[in-house]
Amino acid sequence: MISYHPDSRYLTDFATANLPLAEAVCVSAHLEFCGKCRTHVQQLTDVGSHMFTRLQPEAVSEDSFAALMARVSAGAQQERAPAVTVAAEVAADEAAEAAQSHVFLPRAVRRLVSGSLDKLRWVQLGKALRVAPLRVSDESRDTAIYDIRAGGRMPEHEHRGDEITVLLQGSFSDADGSYSRGDFVVRHAGETHQPTATMDKDCLCLVCLERPVRPRGLLYRLLEPLVNYRLQRLNRSMA
C-alpha cells in the first residue's frame, strides 16, 4: 500500500518536463508503483495537450515537408539502426536484471544501474548501510541507491537540502512514520531523521539529495569528510 506520493508541484513539473533530471528519475520510479499518480500525470499531460491545440499556429517554412520526406527516404536505414541498438540494449539489460535478482526495478533505475545492482560500485558505510552513487548528469543533486540491512539503522542526520527517497524494496521507519515499497518520501532542509530498516527484509532505496546530508553524531561528523572523499573519488573514477 503506497501512502506517500509526490505533491502537485513534483507531478506538475514532471508532466511539463521541468523537473531537475535526478528528481524526475525519482518521480518516474514512483509512477511505476503508483497507478493513482500515473493517472494524475496523464491528466496533467491532457491539460498540456489541450493548451497545445489552442496555440496560435506558427507557419513552418515552405520546403519543410519536402526536406523531411527527403530525410525519411534517404535516412530510412541509418536512422532506424540506433533504435534497434537501444532496444537490444534495453532487452539485454532486462534479461540481466531478471537473471541476477528478483528485485523489480523501475525502468529509469534499471537504465541507471545498467541492468544489475551487482554491477554498481558499492561503498560500505558501517555494518548496516552500503551506498552506490548513480550518474544522472544532474550536478545540482547527488543520486544514489541505498541498501540498508534488515533491522539496520542509519546514522541520525540532518538535511541541508531537500531529499527524495523512493522505496524500491523492503520498508523503513523513522520518527514520522513507516514507509514501504513505492513510497515517495520527501525530507526538507533542516529536518533531522534516523531511518531504520524493518527487521525482516533488506531495504533498497533510490535517494536524491539536493546537497550532502550532515550526520549528527560526533563519530559520523568525523567520518563525514572521509565518506565524502570516498564518494567523490568514486564519482571521479566513474566519470
Partner: protein
C-alpha cells in the same frame, strides 16, 4: 475504425473521449494508422500541415530562454520525423493523437535542453518520460472521461490561474521559474496551480 475496435468498450471510450464533440471519432487516428501501415505520405502530409505549425508554436515558446527561435523550425521537423517513425506504436486506447504528438514534442524539447547542457548522458529522456504509461483499464476509462471534462472546464478558469498554467505547460517553466518571473512566493504559485487543477477535477495532494 476497424471492426475489432467496434465493440462496446470501444464505442463507450469513443463516446467519452474523442478529440471533437462527444461521440465523434478522432479524425487523426485514421491518418496515423495509414502512415503506420502503408507509409502513406499523403496522409502524413495532412498530419504535417495540421500539427507542424502547432508544434513550432509550442517549441518557440518552450525554448526561447535556451536558443534562437530559428531552432524551433529544425526541432519541429525532428518531432514530425519521430511521428513518422513511431506511428506504428501509437495506441488510440491510451491517448488521443493530440496528446501523443504533444508528448513527443515535449520529450524532444527536454532532450534538446539536456543535450545542449551536456553531452555525457547516462539515461535517455524516454527512460524517464515514458510514452507508453499504461494505466489499468478501469482507470483508463475514468481518464478518458476526465480528458473531455478538462476540455470544458479550461474555459472557466480565472485569469491568474490560467496564466500560471500557461507558463507551466506552454512556456515550459517550473514552479520556481514562474515564481521568479511573476515575483510571487513559491507557495502562491503552487496554490494557484493546485486551485486550477482542482477546478479541472485533478485532485492531487489529498
Amino acid at each position: 475504425m476497424s471492426s475489432s475496435e467496434d465493440n462496446n468498450a470501444g464505442s463507450l471510450r469513443k463516446a467519452l473521449a474523442g478529440a471533437g464533440p462527444l461521440g465523434q471519432p478522432d479524425p487523426w487516428e485514421a491518418c496515423i494508422r495509414k502512415v503506420a501501415q502503408q507509409q502513406d505520405r499523403e496522409e502524413f502530409k495532412k498530419l504535417f500541415d495540421h500539427y507542424a505549425p502547432m508544434i513550432k508554436a509550442f517549441l518557440t515558446k518552450g525554448i526561447s530562454s535556451y536558443a534562437d527561435r530559428s531552432l524551433a523550425e529544425e526541432m519541429t521537423q525532428e518531432v514530425m520525423f519521430k511521428v513518422w517513425n513511431k506511428a506504428d506504436s501509437f495506441n488510440p486506447a491510451k491517448a488521443s493523437v493530440n496528446t501523443w504528438i504533444f508528448t513527443i514534442a515535449r520529450n524532444t524539447r527536454i532532450d534538446f535542453i539536456r543535450r545542449n547542457g551536456r553531452a555525457d548522458r547516462t539515461i535517455d529522456i524516454e527512460d524517464i518520460w515514458h510514452e507508453a504509461d499504461s494505466p489499468e483499464p478501469v482507470v483508463e476509462l475514468q481518464q478518458r472521461r476526465v480528458e473531455t471534462m478538462i476540455r470544458h472546464a479550461m474555459t472557466t478558469l480565472p485569469e491568474e490561474q490560467a496564466l500560471v498554467l500557461e507558463k507551466a505547460f506552454m512556456e515550459s517553466k517550473s514552479h520556481n521559474e514562474i515564481a521568479e518571473e511573476l515575483a510571487l512566493p513559491l507557495g502562491t504559485v503552487k496554490s494557484r496551480i493546485r486551485l486550477a487543477l482542482s477546478k479541472l477535477q485533478i485532485l492531487i495532494d489529498r
